[in-house]
Symmetry: C2
Subunit: 533 residues, 2 copies
């Protein structure tokens, strides 16, 4: 393995953890919130503790050099990084690890792996870096399979070609975010796609799951950055043309973007790049009134300004993330650009937010790196570190999770109140104690925001999973009934299937099922995700 | 019929024509170009001249009130508005008109019409306003059908609901551009989608064909303006959720956008609207060197400025359209906005073009309506009137046609030279005389332009169609071999099928075929377009 080893029971690499200081801060914060005097912590699992079923298949000679059924490897490929994944890991429950991990070195290996899987009737779970929070890479699949193979694309990690004239590059799908950016940097170019999982996710994963970057508007979704795709399907290799635009039938790329590994394995893509930003302006705005704050963001989103950051964080989330005192909602506005100073845009944005009661400290106005300091900096740090906190919290017995969606502006106030109320109520009903739910906007569009909710609760020890399902079900039911999408950028995976089935139009499902049967006639690819063939 | 009658043999309404002055100017211009002393004009056809085959089916009682098999109606629905359509109309050739035209008053009528078609084994050609230039609405279809029905959606012409908060509206698919904008205007909103066919095309047609508006960048393609769709398929009604963004599986809307009527009949869509622009800046720039001009546009397209207009017109096209003296290539740059003055953007754009030798008259800099006057205004007028000129030219015996594509910047110089050379050569080979080919950019993207080529030739009388096919084939072969798309915004229809078959990835075609079979099992919808089931 050329890649640093990932942690099998939590976020990031095996040697990365929350610091002692962070752990103590988390314990103090939640002790106060739940009136807990002493935490009864469960230690993270170690490999030797976990009994694993024997592998049901072994690699053929032709694939032996790139295959593994080593215990830790199987553990790493069993789960993604969701709350239920974390709970099951701490409970030492790994009943259905993959029988085999195959790591293709090239596209021929991918074809050979799919052929082998077909021969032995094994399900194939495409695996980028395993940061799915929706059960997208889970190897416990239903169906009549003899075995399950996790197909890890980590060796397909190169930028193969850079076109500086059109600003595009041909890139292998298994490349991690930092590997990708470090290969583009010498060319002065960037993909500028920074999901929260940036360090632990891959280009192929981003495309397969319709990943959203952390920028708030325009050129943040992977969908818009794809120029063409190359996908190995059981029915052959699909390669679209490099085109800046096309009106020739429904977009082939848009079929594979968001297909979550059920139609084929993305091996390469030509991606649209940007020059590295040189000009920046950033500002942190405080609002005391939530409705005024959301109105400000709505008007800002409709003003043809397209800020790179436009993150509204409610006062509750500001407290949880240490970026506010709980007295104000915080809106972080930023612009960045490789060609010209965004001053005029920032001035106009501030005029708008001022009309809705937004207030800011004038002295920070000119600081180009304000997003690294102050409230914005505190939030940014919490955002990057948050996934590491989950493994601390799970050990403590605290449930911490998020759900995210999108809704048009005119429905947002009721929608938001409904989801906040539903989440609070169900947490109290299920756990018998008050929890907390907060909201921020991860992305904003002229026709609506993408609200991102974070919640925590103190479930009963040993009943974490059952209580999480009760909460998740109630919240998702409310979200779908109120017109939202079951996911804005986390994907459907296995965890969101029930609500996805309610959301997608039935004739579209009929069509998707037909494509699935045509491209993957034996239904080996990521069974259980999106659609049943 | 509540709609003004369309011309069956040319562009626009039956009472609209090129003016006497326009006709004389065209005759003079092409007489000089082809050294013709006297034009031997063919008169446009009249209904009574044209023998029509008897209708093979008649409407059932339930549909009788909304059905027609009147002669002129059948003629109007026989063809779109392409050059071969024009030639066949002037030749009085209408061998395969629809047997019946059905005009649904509501969605139930659409369902009833599809049911009836299924009962009698009739092909169904969805018809918005018939401005297809690629054979997309042609009723001469192959296959074992008893009859052909043209399904004219003109009565579905209302804006049903306006959401001023999210800036969106629920709109029926049969609405014409001007009808749509006049219903939005009282709300201070606009769809701001202005294809050349604006007056003679419909929302449903735009969605079905991935229409491109006349704006050069961003929010010009109908794809990006669709919030959700409602589509009647033979397998049921598909309705997607109104969402500003979603990551739940491949986009259902993107499957129907560009489906060209083969999967279902689009009846409604929620569309993203914009406030009506209040601020404008426009500038006409002259370049003496084509390569410098294209470089200027490339850099401009990559500078995060997104001009509403960025139309580069080569010197040849400037002459043909009366917007230049042939000594310079003309770049029209414009910005418009509802929220703030675009002065800073225009200043930066001018800095960029100046670096590549672009020159402009300073006194027009401040004119917000410069796009209505001067070179830009002359071009704009020619652009709007050009489709009316075709019917004059066809009568004179002059072949006038266009083809359009897209290509990444790094390939553009060779691609452009190749297509210009190929078109000139094949015109000379086929017609024995020099013709002309010119190029403009209809749209520009950071990764490449959408070049739009116009050509004219003097074919042999009586051999217009055969000579056009020879030219079209040679040009399209070259375009596809050089990596372009067979269409950027005109659609595939029947005319581009041969090259679309080479362009789309084979597994995608397998998938599309599977969807087609699943949603339209008897293959009644627009047979011959995009894919054969």
């Amino acid at each position: 393995m050329t890649r640093r080893k990932f942690k099998f029971w939590g976020w990031g690499y095996a040697d990365e953890h929350a610091s002692h200081e962070e752990r103590e801060r988390l314990k103090d914060f939640y002790a106060q919130r739940f009136s807990v005097s002493q935490w009864d912590e469960v230690a993270p699992p170690v490999v030797g503790e976990i009994p694993l079923p024997a592998s049901r298949i072994s690699a053929p000679d032709t694939l032996a050099a790139i295959s593994s059924n080593e215990s830790e490897d199987r553990l790493i490929h069993s789960y993604g990084k969701s709350y239920p994944d974390s709970v099951r890991a701490f409970a030492r429950q790994f009943p259905a690890p993959p029988d085999l991990i195959i790591r293709p070195r090239n596209e021929n290996d991918v074809v050979a792996a799919l052929d082998f899987a077909d021969t032995v009737n094994a399900a194939v779970i495409p695996f980028g870096a395993g940061s799915s929070v929706v059960g997208g890479v889970e190897t416990a699949v239903s169906g009549n399979f003899r075995a399950v193979i996790s197909l890890n694309l980590q060796h397909l990690n190169r930028v193969l070609e850079v076109d500086p004239i059109s600003r595009a590059a041909r890139i292998q799908a298994g490349v991690l975010g930092p590997q990708l950016e470090s290969q583009l940097k010498p060319h002065g170019l960037t993909l500028r796609h920074f999901p929260q999982s940036f360090e632990y996710s891959t280009l192929g994963g981003w495309i397969a799951t319709r990943s959203g970057g952390h920028f708030a508007t325009r050129l943040t979704h992977i969908d818009d950055l794809v120029e063409s795709t190359r996908v190995v399907t059981p029915a052959g290799i699909s390669e679209s043309r490099r085109l800046p635009g096309s009106g020739a039938g429904p977009s082939p790329d848009r079929l594979f973007i968001g297909s979550e590994g059920i139609l084929g394995v993305i091996t390469e893509a030509w991606m649209r790049l940007q020059a590295r930003p040189r000009f920046r302006a950033s500002k942190s705005i405080r609002f005391t009134d939530w409705q005024q704050a959301t109105e400000a963001v709505r008007v800002l989103s409709q003003a043809d300004l397209y800020p790179s950051n436009c993150r509204l964080i409610d006062s509750e989330e500001a407290v949880t993330t240490g970026s506010g005192d709980g007295k104000a909602h915080i809106l972080i506005i930023a612009f960045e650009n490789a060609d010209h100073a965004p001053d005029a845009k920032m001035q106009r944005a501030l005029e708008i937010v001022a009309q809705y009661g937004g207030q800011w400290q004038t002295e920070t106005l000119e600081s180009p790196n304000a997003h690294h300091s102050g409230e914005a900096g505190a939030w940014r740090n919490a955002f990057i570190r948050a996934p590491f906190y989950r493994e601390v919290l799970t050990g403590m017995g605290v449930m911490y999770d998020t759900f995210e969606t999108a809704i048009t502006w005119e429905r947002f106030p009721d929608f938001h109140a409904n989801l906040i109320d539903t989440t609070r109520r169900i947490i109290r009903e299920v756990t018998g104690k008050d929890g907390s739910v907060s909201c921020r906007f991860s992305h904003v569009y002229p026709d609506g925001p993408a609200p991102y909710f974070s919640f925590y609760a103190l479930p009963k020890r040993g009943a974490e999973l059952a209580q999480w399902y009760e909460i998740k079900n109630a919240v998702s039911d409310a979200l779908i009934a109120a017109g939202g999408t079951i996911t804005h950028h986390h994907a459907v995976g296995r965890d969101h299937r029930r609500w996805y089935d309610l959301q997608r139009p039935e004739p579209f499902a009929t069509g998707l099922r037909a494509i699935k049967r045509a491209l993957d006639p034996n239904g080996l690819l990521n069974p259980g995700v999106l659609i049943d063939p």
